[in-house]
């Protein structure tokens, strides 16, 4: 033991392991981010924003190439003098799309009676498949707190779990540890949905369970929305549509597979609902 403690590299390694394990233990739940972590996050935020935009640009560029049927003609067509015009057109389209998305977000929030909110851009996604989280560019300074619900124009995104000064982490509803109290719009049945673990990040699903009524009532295409029960999410936010109804033969309580209404892979703007009590 004495020899072990006299070996500096091993000692440093042991201390690092202990510190990291303690850090992992304390960071597992919802929390306000401590100053050191917050500083690193704040420094990384602008870099992250640029990197995220660049990666989307590169992905879009390659996507255009592979989707093109006549790339050679395309290349010949674009002359040097038109380059600036094309760029302006791209900028215009981008602004128009963003405008449409924000307008949709605004209309949707108005239609379900949400008036206090903060809009934010998605600047990062968790790596790997084990946790589904997104990082947004709004934090404590913008009035964001842990537990606040997050949505976009298409529906419910998740809730804020970690808050930094000008950035936050949002656990999405497709994370397999998240449960949401929901209502079937047509039948008004209350039940729950939870995220399904998927090794393919492009494919996300939810499973609907604890449906108290007869299964025959539920049909594919039924709209699922938040019920407001539990006080975590406001009532009436769209969650998804029923894709497949299943018999509860193994007592797992799963009644249907639900397709989330939000495209989590292409999420760009979100809205943090600040005017809702929530659990935070």
């Amino acid at each position: 033991m004495k020899k072990l403690f006299s070996n500096k590299p091993i000692l440093i390694m042991v201390i690092a392991v202990v510190l990291l394990l303690v850090l992992a233990f304390f960071s597992a739940g919802s929390r306000t981010i401590p100053w050191l972590e917050n500083t690193v996050g704040a420094i990384a935020r602008p870099v992250q924003t640029v990197a995220f935009k660049v990666s989307n640009g590169i992905a879009g560029f390659f996507s255009n190439i592979f989707n093109s049927t006549d790339a050679d003609l395309e290349l010949a067509k674009y002359k040097q003098e038109l380059a600036m015009y094309e760029q302006m057109k791209l900028d215009y389209n981008e602004i128009q799309k963003e405008n449409e998305r924000l307008r949709g977000l605004l209309n949707y929030s108005g239609s379900i009676g949400i008036s206090d909110y903060v809009t934010a851009k998605v600047i990062g996604r968790s790596n790997g498949v084990w946790f589904d989280m997104i990082t947004i560019n709004a934090g404590r300074k913008q009035g964001v707190e842990t537990g606040m619900p997050v949505m976009c124009g298409d529906g419910l995104v998740g809730k804020v779990t970690d808050v930094g000064s000008n950035w936050s982490k949002v656990t999405s509803i497709i994370d397999s540890s998240v449960n949401v109290a929901v209502t079937v719009e047509r039948t008004r049945d209350n039940c729950m949905v939870r995220g399904v673990f998927s090794p393919n990040s492009a494919k996300s699903e939810l499973e609907l369970y604890y449906l108290p009524t007869d299964l025959t009532d539920l049909v594919p295409g039924d709209i699922i929305m938040t019920s407001g029960i539990g006080g975590i999410y406001p009532k009436g936010i769209r969650v998804g549509t029923v894709d497949e109804v299943m018999l509860d033969t193994d007592n797992s309580g799963v009644n249907a597979v639900v397709n989330p209404s939000v495209d989590f892979l292409h999420l760009e703007e979100v809205m943090v609902i600040t005017g809702f009590g929530g659990e935070g």
Binding site: L20, A28, S126, W130, F131, S176, G195, P199
Partner: protein, 169 residues
């Protein structure tokens, strides 16, 4: 060792693994480029450089992107250390050692995350996850590590390689 080039390469690896990889998901699988880089670096530059790079890259990843802070840092640090275990213990042309080390480290890392996901209330089914994600992921990571090892050896550690200093000590 060309330190700045190394820092730039690691930054590029961080960018590819954390920001760009989500946009290019091939059949749902993504290689752990950062782990592959850390192992390759550990094998070529030693346990201290490998584990330090792993710790820094992992910690930044955890803080900016991940739910649990410290897990990536821990696994990448040990991956760098594992790579460093073979530092100057075999011929530099041997690709099997870094490849297999990266595969083992990736396998262990995914299991650590699987346990963490289970403890956090998630329900990933073990055998389904093993077959559909962990195994393809560690095979891809091994392949990427071999490529990165060749790149690092030529671009960053060429003088050492030319002098055959990475041979048996």
């Amino acid at each position: 060792m060309r330190k700045w080039l190394l820092v730039l390469t690691l930054a590029a690896v961080f960018f590819i693994d954390n920001v760009f990889a989500d946009n290019v998901v091939v059949f749902g699988f993504r290689a752990d480029v950062m782990l592959a880089a850390v192992v390759a670096l550990g094998v070529l530059a030693g346990p201290l450089t490998g584990s330090a790079a792993g710790l820094i890259l992992g910690l930044i990843t955890d803080i900016v992107f991940n739910k649990i802070v410290g897990l990536s840092a821990l696994t990448y640090m040990f991956s760098g250390l594992a790579g460093g275990f073979f530092y100057r213990k075999f011929y530099a042309d041997n690709l099997i050692i870094p490849t297999v080390t990266a595969m083992i480290c990736s396998f262990i890392k995914e299991h650590v995350f699987l346990i963490a996901a289970k403890l956090s209330g998630g329900r990933p089914p073990y055998f389904y996850t093993l077959a559909s994600y962990v195994i393809p992921c560690f095979l891809l990571t091994g392949g990427i590590c071999a490529l990165l090892y060749i790149f690092f050896k030529h671009a960053l550690f060429k003088p050492l390689w030319r002098n055959e200093a990475i041979k048996l000590e």
